[in-house]
Symmetry: C2
């Protein structure tokens, strides 16, 4: 009986990742994945029963890589504004590099309604936690005081999803800065922030 | 040959709408729709070839009803803040009343990637246009000056989608107000808005 190796599995995942991330789900064939991974289709099937199982594994792996990228980007800078900008940049950047990833997540999410595990769930939870932690640190250090932090985190991450999907391409310069400026200081340039209002009285 | 009537079609759509909106797609059976619509399954199939076609029709109809509801809510109030709050309330309200609508939209969106028409596209475009118009009117009347309006509109509507999907339920009181406060004045209570900053100098 032939053994399975982590290296071979990794080669399959890398090949599948590239194909699922850049082509539509129904266009990706197990044959193509085997060709890119440079192995026979029989070997491929020793690791993954079918395309469905492979694509769940791809999503779980992508999920970890994505979270690693975002977390690294955030810890590399200081101050809540820079950290939120780094978060936004790295999220948009990752999805722009994997143009079909959102579709894959959406597909998996629909299937999770049928009782399947949702491989992106962990990332979603961790991302919300990361944003919540940034808000909390900013509050402790007196850098920012985020009102309604739970709703604010959902609005920020959900808004990003739609900017990634429907926003202008190529991305306008300074997009992350615009998003965070609007997020922290408000989209309305005429609005007075509560503290400034108090100072004006 | 039996004739088709608009009344009968409407009865089917209403029945299907109720079932698709409150049950998962795979749980809804043509038999159940026929029972709720109080007609034979044969009659049902004279109007819609299969469940797929019927659900596209349901989505197209839901799309119109939704847009009507939101537009009405917005024109009933005055001032950009009240209008945006009405927009947010009516969007969240509609989706909360149709708990599986987002899944249906998502499913249709994935299928549109396979070349099918996306029945929610018109609503999406119109909603973005409505928000854009509100921003523009507010600017003309000196009520608000929305920075980066295109990105701001995507962030607002995309954020709402995620609040609808993942936000706390039952919805906290004043949710729409919280969202619009953060949107217009910024999530950071310590941030100084540009105009107030100028006044403070």
């Amino acid at each position: 009986m032939r053994t399975k190796t982590p290296e071979q599995k990794e080669r399959i995942l890398t090949a599948a990742s590239g194909l699922f991330g850049t082509q539509r789900f129904h266009e990706v064939r197990m044959d193509d994945i085997a060709v890119v991974a440079e192995m026979g289709k029989g070997t491929l099937y020793r690791y993954f029963r079918d395309k469905e199982e492979l694509y769940f594994a791809v999503l779980a792996r992508s999920s970890e890589l994505f979270l690693g990228r975002v977390t690294t980007a955030v810890v590399e800078v200081e101050g809540v504004r820079a950290q939120l900008e780094a978060l936004v940049s790295s999220i948009i950047g990752y999805f722009d590099e994997h143009p079909h990833l959102l579709d894959l997540i959406q597909r998996a999410e629909l299937e999770s309604a049928l009782g399947k595990e949702f491989p992106w769930q962990h990332t979603r939870t961790e991302l919300l936690r990361l944003v919540g932690d940034l808000f909390e640190q900013a509050r402790v250090h007196g850098e920012a005081s985020i009102r309604h932090p739970d709703v604010a985190a959902l609005m920020l991450l959900g808004g990003l999803r739609t900017v990634i999907r429907l926003g202008e391409k190529p991305r306008p310069r300074g997009l992350a800065r615009r998003i965070i400026d609007n997020f922290l200081s408000g989209a309305d340039a005429l609005a007075k922030a509560p503290r400034a209002q108090a100072l004006l009285r």
